[in-house]
Symmetry: C2
Subunit: 403 residues, 2 copies
């Protein structure tokens, strides 16, 4: 029998309990053993819960129980979660998590700790919610030298952008609607300013390229600067505005990673990813492009990914899963300044001024554009180059075009 | 050291040799051992090939060489390939294949044979080319009771349909172009009449639902009946015509599976899958919908999936991979007659006659439609019901709408 403890009975934690219970028969068959939930750690009381017998308030009960093989950490953050994860791994218990912040900031040390203590640290649910992405990246695409990962990694911002594009809501209106629908937190900073996407691209970059990329190494721009004018100009050429996290392999083992809004051409499958859905496109030298698509968040989809990791571990508790990466370095991540791409510019200028500054531009039009406003797509160039050319111009928006 | 033999030096076989060689360093690191190509079996001569030293013409050389751990079968068909696969497994050598025909017709017995002889039979490349789908289905989605698999499983037909939709080519013109571009065989029957998609949905159904589904149990309709008129009518409501393979869980462990052209609403991500790309949507009770997208064929993408299986086996040659399914049965597969869905009908009739026959229909329009032609979408009903209602009417096309 394999015993599981869940830390934190919030949305994901309670989803994990639900999936373990509802799909119990199927899970036992897959593992070829009985998988049983023994403890749920939470400071709150849950009277009348079907799991009432499982609740404990003291982590050391779990830490010291030799029957516990797998600890599911769904507390979030990098303080208590770090402490409990460290202690569980040191006690030889494998840990499964959906906590992207902890993996993005402490993944390297926790993976090493797991290896030292003969157990595993798995985190499929930390990126893309229920979408299978981390395991395919490391197993199914193992024959490839991966060159690029580009993803719509945050459901909240994708929902807001979809509402702006489809229904003409302003950013503020769409944000309020997302909050009313439970898609956005009261404090939406982590989503809207791109920090959540940043943590996820760090994890993807580490798995794809083999070294830890830290969130503070990744330039991150959110979607607060996207206006309905930008949406309309993009739409006039069939482009969609999407918040993308990107990681691109560079020579000498370096990595270029950043998060920013992009104009995505309509024929790119990422353009069709709407609402709270996420999608991650991966490029490898043999496979070309593949894309993984699904719900990037939500109780049961995320729990599905957590429990898949639980099943993987339960099938072979002592297997060395080799899923680590090497330590990062201050000079590992190169600036996105080196990346050349076409740019979308909305500025106070005439078409002639735009042409003079940026060369062969593609002018965009929208209904109701005021005199003196121009929006255009530029030829490919780097960010320093475009900023240099736009000097002295009053620029409203400047976004990369995904080429 | 792990030694590999490739059977058949065609497109996929030569791609496997190329990936094993070009990405050799990376593969050795992933496996933590040296993976070396020792033999290539082919009746033809390849003078000047970089693999000249590897060629053999007699399978028993491979069969009797105790150094060979993994045999890659890329011969295709279910005659010689069956013989060699059987002999390799009986000799305790694991077999990796891209051969959907062999897996769809003999998968159950070959998987059992592998288990009996302590080796593995893996076939990720048999469905979706390079797209990681079979391993995610069985590992990443392991916590789910899967309810449905729906896929664009054949790149040739999707290319033809895309050319009809985008460029107004007739079926015959688009087929010729696909043949000229190397996307379609001289004898296009297996693709165009849906047999290739049928084999793939059989494999997906077996993995998703646990019992062997045989191709002759799956009603299969190809795309020869799709006309430019149908394309135009579908386009008028933003729908795309796609050849879909579907497998849907039924009560009492039964399965409904079929292959047929469908009208797919524009907001469904399958509608945006164009050219030779494939995509497979999977529904599970926890995860909801996820989709896997990529190149469904081609030398290097397919080789990428084959080599991922080689790496998986090479990491642990003696692991019991539990990836089998149970024997099928004549009464396992229920007729798609039970499935209710809206229908697209193009017929010689008036709008009133259509309404009288089918109730609350949605009439479609196209430029240049001749008098006496009507096309419409019906309310949901089963196939016997719609056929009954259309009796006596001259029906040009009748396709399901993916609801």
């Amino acid at each position: 029998m394999v015993h599981v403890a869940i830390l934190g009975f919030g949305t994901v934690g309670s989803g994990v309990a639900e999936v373990l219970t509802q799909n119990g028969g199927l899970i036992d068959r897959r593992v070829d053993d009985l998988v049983r939930l023994k403890y749920i750690l939470d400071v709150r009381e849950f009277p009348g819960s079907p799991y009432a017998d499982c609740f404990v308030k003291d982590f050391s009960v779990i830490e010291q129980d030799p029957e516990i093989d797998i600890v599911v950490e769904t507390i979030g953050g990098a303080t208590i979660a770090l402490d409990f994860t460290t202690r569980a791994l040191k006690a030889g218990k494998s840990v499964v998590t959906s906590n992207k912040e902890l993996v993005a900031t402490h993944g390297y040390e926790l993976l090493n700790l797991a290896r030292e203590h003969g157990c595993s640290y798995l985190f499929e649910a930390s990126v893309g919610g229920g979408i299978p992405i981390l395991r395919p990246l490391t197993s199914c695409l193992a024959a490839n030298e991966l060159t690029q990962v580009t993803g719509i990694l945050n459901g909240t911002t994708n929902y807001i952008l979809t509402r702006m594009i489809r229904s003409g809501l302003t950013f503020d209106q769409a944000l309020k609607e997302a909050q009313d629908n439970g898609y956005a937190e009261k404090d939406p900073t982590a989503d809207v300013d791109g920090h959540d996407a940043c943590r996820k691209i760090c994890i993807l970059a580490a798995l794809a390229f083999g070294r830890h990329v830290y969130p503070d190494q990744v330039p991150t721009q959110g979607i607060r600067g996207v206006t309905l004018e930008d949406v309309a100009y993009a739409d006039s050429v069939g482009y969609k505005i999407k918040l993308l996290g990107r990681a691109i392999r560079q020579p000498q083992g370096k990595v270029c990673a950043y998060v920013a809004p992009h104009l995505v051409p309509g024929e790119n499958p990422l353009a069709g990813v709407e609402d709270v859905f996420n999608a991650i496109a991966v490029t490898g030298n043999a496979i070309g492009d593949v894309m993984f698509y699904g719900r990037g968040a939500g109780k049961l989809p995320t729990a599905s990914a957590v429990v898949a990791d639980v099943i993987d571990i339960a099938k072979d508790l002592k297997k060395d899963r080799h899923n680590g990466w090497e330590e990062g370095a201050p000079d590992l991540v190169v600036s996105s300044d080196i990346l050349s791409s076409p740019w979308y510019v909305r500025a106070q200028c005439t078409a002639d001024q735009a042409r003079l500054a940026c060369g062969e531009i593609h002018l965009l039009a929208r209904a109701g554009a005021p005199a003196g406003e121009a929006a255009f797509l530029t030829p490919p160039m780097t960010e320093p180059q475009i900023r240099d050319r736009l000097q002295g111009m009053e620029v409203g928006s400047l976004f990369r075009v995904l080429a």
